[in-house]
């Protein structure tokens, strides 16, 4: 038995090609045949809300090197219909999606209006410049306040700009709050941000006239979804469309939405022109025509006892869903359910409105509604502690679900339509770990010393629970070739998570073959046509489990064949390093490659493996060569479909320093305790946490979409949208793990992809509040905003000097 790879920090196999510049990203596809590839560009609306009066493309039609120009009028059949509403929900009473190319009106700056295909991208953009569109501008709805006021409507037929209204109840929160000894109310908000992968969207398509098949490469998180959408829109059979997700330069959620207008336009153009067509999004386009997330405002009412135990929690929030709702209500549903984190309020009511605005659509971005929910809940807990004068960790401890309470039913319906039941965890142990890791108990002294030097420092905590490994299913196919090499495929896609390594570890362990012999392919519908996609921290749980199950099937067959060939009992056999051996008799063995030959009763011998196989005979002479419930080949295929999600958890703690003069916020220390069950590759898990945490810092301190009142995005470039460089990330991050295995899957794993980002705004807001002594209720927070808050707070305290401010105060007590 070779050493187990599960749990090891195995170096990534995909890095070899990335480091050599040999990755194949979507814009790299077909560069070797430049003359055969045409390039597309999209004319986008310059208005947030306008009626299209006329589009004149006459100046473009005869341009040298231009092959095609389309507006909505040029589209027919399903292509002329609105894009699909991917995830309908009964509460989404007024779902709306855009057209592939705008028809009559545009509803956000960036909406696709016309499409050009030319010899190269430079020419295609020249052509866009010659299209003239006359618009009649309409008043724009920008921001939640304006959407709620509904003085103007985004869609004429959507009253109040309300796409959906949803409510869930556990017990009777309003009554419980009224009966509680203490009641607080808080208003908390988070601004708009975006996933912003370094590689934007992109699609390449090639139509093969000889076979009537379409081949599509696209930078997506769901290649099977793109396949189905393209087939439906182009009115092709599924079997005529192959979709391949090549190497992808990050996704973080934004690439789960599909089909994008460009997916359909590029594939259709490939069919019409008979040439390959490529669309590569540029950075400004990504800002104004991909997707954003996060903008939400929350109003909270909470009732609690003297120990800070929550007796009733009533949350109402408003979610900005942008101009259309192609991805349904996933984000606000996640906020409304995952807000509860590791806590068990006795009674809970949550209501939300999902609102239209004339801005870019909103679809999940890493964390997907959880950073907002975590912020709302953690700020509430901190407010309770401040109100009662209790330690913030003590109030958390008083509200935590205990280890012996699992499975714990929160009484809600989760985003997958299944009950929100936590499978496992140990939150009190985690709280202890984070207190130690950050030095919670020593902090008061540090703070006192710092204050004596005129410095302001603060400490904060953020705790979360994340439903990961959302169903419905994922599959894997394991094929042992006659060379003994193991070719493995799963349908979900990869954006940098190291799936080729992690899944190979699982398969190599299960089959006991050298890892170098295992090759993993993801996101290629030719290799695995059934799949759901990469989102909701589900890849390791879903495909990892499916890999294990599929490899087990291949193993069963290998043992059965080997028993026959070696004339031994199956129970006396074991897999060792690429072959099957009789236990205690290593010379009595047969290589997996040879078994692959034997598994396929063919009359031709091609190679050495076939020759080697001739010394063995398998099969019963009285039975057909391929028996009734058997198949040729040494393969295993299986699907993993869990009853419900598995729940990972974590706690972050931050120590910040705020500059007394400039109000700059500096993170002095950051600590993370994380529990994603058993880890396949702790190196990859830590990398995911580091990356998520950096995105969290962006969301807490720097990143926001600056829309003006007319709906122009003022910071649509990397110059103005401030993503963290290394200089914005603390030098040292302490990470510690807890591993409570999930009982729901064979490997005991939970997802890790999104976790790092979730509690960062909550932890940093708490730390800034602790440093400053007044409440922080809105994130991100810039130095200018902190400065303003100081001014306002100073005015406030001078006018209400009768009542001293609470040192750690946040929230206001209501009657």
């Amino acid at each position: 038995m070779s050493t187990q790879l599960f749990g090891e920090k195995v170096p990534r196999v995909e890095d070899q090609r990335f480091l050599r510049g040999q990755g194949r990203y979507v814009d790299d596809v077909l560069v070797d045949t430049p003359s055969a590839t045409l390039h597309a560009a999209v004319l986008r609306s310059p208005h947030a809300h306008a009626r299209i009066l006329d589009i004149d493309v006459s100046d473009v039609i005869d341009m040298d090197g231009v092959h095609l120009v389309w507006t909505h009028e040029d589209l027919a059949g399903a292509m002329a219909e609105p894009l699909p509403l991917l995830i309908p929900h009964p509460a989404l009473t007024h779902g709306r999606t855009q057209y592939t190319l705008a028809k009559d009106t545009v509803n956000y700056v960036g909406e696709a209006v016309a499409f050009v295909v030319a010899d190269d991208r430079y020419l295609a953009e020249d052509a866009l410049g010659r299209i003239s569109v006359s618009y009649e501008p309409l008043p724009a709805v920008v921001g939640i306040e304006s959407a709620r006021a509904a003085e103007n409507l985004v869609h004429d037929d959507v009253p109040g700009n309300v796409a959906a209204r949803m409510e869930q109840n556990v017990g009777d929160a309003p009554t419980a709050i009224d009966a509680a000894p203490h009641v607080l109310e808080l208003d908390l908000s988070i601004e708009r941000s975006a996933a912003m992968p370094l590689e934007g969207r992109g699609t390449v398509a090639r139509w093969d006239h000889d076979t009537s098949r379409l081949q599509v490469w696209t930078s997506t998180q769901a290649s099977t979804g793109v396949r189905a959408a393209v087939a439906a829109k182009l009115e092709l059979d599924l079997g005529q469309v192959d979709v391949i997700c090549p190497d992808t330069g990050g996704g973080f959620g934004v690439k789960i939405n599909h089909p994008w207008p460009e997916d359909l336009l590029v594939t259709r153009a490939a069919q019409v022109t008979g040439q390959a067509v490529k669309f590569t999004e540029d950075r400004r386009e990504h800002f104004i025509s991909a997707a954003h997330e996060r903008a939400q405002e929350h109003h909270i009412r909470v009732g609690f006892d003297d120990q800070g135990r929550v007796q009733g929690l009533d949350v109402e929030f408003w979610h900005d869903n942008g101009a259309y709702t192609p991805y349904g209500l996933i984000v606000p549903i996640i906020t409304s359910t995952q807000l509860l984190g590791p806590y068990k309020p006795a009674n809970y009511r949550v209501r939300f409105d999902s609102l239209y605005t004339n801005t870019v659509i909103v679809t999940p971005y890493r964390g997907a509604g959880r950073p907002q929910g975590c912020f709302a809940m953690e700020r509430t807990i901190d407010a309770i502690a401040a109100h009662l004068g209790l330690d913030r960790t003590a109030v958390r401890a008083a509200n935590l679900i205990q280890p012996d309470e699992f499975p714990y039913d929160q009484g809600l319906i989760f985003q997958d339509g299944r009950p929100l039941i936590y499978d496992s965890g140990d939150y009190p142990a985690m709280l202890e770990k984070i207190r130690k890791l950050i030095g919670w108990d020593e902090f008061e002294q540090f703070k006192a010393e710092a204050e004596a030097e005129g410095r302001r420092v603060g400490i904060g905590l953020g705790c979360y629970v994340e439903g990961t490994g959302v169903g419905p299913y994922e599959g894997a196919h394991v094929h042992v070739e006659t060379s003994g090499k193991v070719k493995v495929a799963t349908g979900l896609t990869t954006q940098g998570q190291g799936h080729q390594t992690a899944f190979a570890q699982v398969v190599a362990d299960t089959l006991d073959v050298p890892m170098e012999d295992v090759e993993v392919v993801t996101g290629d519908t030719r290799r695995m046509s059934y799949s759901v996609g990469t989102f909701a921290s589900r890849a390791a749980v879903m495909s990892g489990s499916a890999m294990h199950l599929a490899a087990l099937r291949a193993k069963e067959k290998a043992l059965r064949l080997a028993a026959d060939a070696l004339e031994a009992d199956e129970a006396d056999l074991k897999m060792v390093d690429g072959s099957v051996q009789v236990k205690g008799s290593p010379s009595n063995s047969i290589a997996l490659g040879t078994l692959a030959v034997l598994s396929n009763p063919l009359r031709y011998a091609f190679d050495k493996a076939s020759q080697a196989a001739t010394q063995f005979s398998v099969g019963d002479q009285d039975k057909p060569p391929v028996d009734e419930d058997d198949e040729p080949g040494l393969e295993g295929r299986d699907f993993y479909s869990p009853n419900r999600s598995t729940f990972a958890s974590g706690m972050h703690a931050a120590i910040v320093e705020t500059d007394p003069e400039t109000a700059e916020i500096k993170i002095l220390r950051y600590a993370i305790v994380h529990d994603c069950g058993r880890m396949i590759n702790p190196m990859i898990v830590e990398g995911q946490i580091h990356g998520g945490m950096a995105q969290g810092i962006g969301g807490a301190l720097y990143e926001r979409m600056a829309y003006d009142d007319s709906g122009q995005l003022l910071n649509a470039s990397f110059m103005d949208f401030l993503m963290p460089y290394v200089t914005e990330i603390p030098g040292e991050i302490d990470v510690d793990h807890l591993e409570t295995p999930s009982p729901l899957n064979p490997l005991g794993i939970k997802g890790a992809g999104e976790a790092g980002v979730i509690p960062v705004s909550a932890a940093i807001a708490a730390a800034v509040e602790n440093a400053e002594g007044f409440s922080i209720t809105s994130m991100p927070i810039s130095p200018a905003e902190l400065y303003d808050l100081r001014q306002r707070h100073a005015e406030h305290t001078s006018t209400t000097s009768a009542r001293p401010p609470k040192q750690d105060g946040s929230g206001e007590e209501s009657a």
Binding site: D28, D119, Y122, L123, L198, G496, M719
Partner: protein, 164 residues
């Protein structure tokens, strides 16, 4: 490419190999490398000079290839990520260090970091932690959170010292 655009002859030496090209004036170096020379290891993350993904070395100096016109570089030497590998095909020190330290995830920003570090270590063969951070402070990575990239700067310096 249309026949109407004026084209210019240029000689670019890329990773030691001379290329004679006939290009329109507006062709960006990044597009020239990727599309004309098919060296797709150089990536384009923003096309406005901020992310650093497209960084190549021009006569040894790290430069954003999305901000330079190819025709302006006649006679100059360019090194891209494809040129960082050892002559025997094994990984160069910077590449090896990123591998060992898990300094990349999606790999999209990585070529720009590698060319930047390659040049940086020539200036500072033994960087302090602050210097290592400073070295990569102009490049964006959305995946890694930078911790392991900074680690890789130190490791690459070590490997370079050992290989000397």
């Amino acid at each position: 490419m249309t026949s109407t655009e004026t084209r210019h002859d240029v000689l670019l030496t890329v990773n030691g190999v001379p290329h004679r090209l006939n290009l329109p004036a507006r062709r960006l170096l990044s597009d020239c490398l990727r599309h004309d020379l098919k060296l797709t290891g150089t990536h384009v993350g923003c096309e406005h000079g901020v992310c650093g993904a497209c960084t190549v070395l021009i006569d040894g100096k790290p430069t954003r290839s999305c901000l330079v016109l190819a025709v302006a570089l006649d006679g100059q030497e360019i090194t891209t990520v494809e040129g960082l590998t050892n002559p025997d095909g094994s990984l160069g020190c910077v590449q090896q260090a990123l591998l060992e330290c898990h300094g990349l995830q999606c790999g999209f920003c990585t070529p720009g970091f590698m060319t930047t570090i390659e040049a940086g270590l020539k200036q500072q063969p033994a960087p302090t932690d602050d210097e290592a951070r400073e070295m990569v402070a102009g490049n964006l990575c959305r995946c890694t959170g930078y911790q392991n990239i900074v680690g890789a700067v130190h490791r690459a310096a070590e490997l370079k010292r050992d290989s000397r």
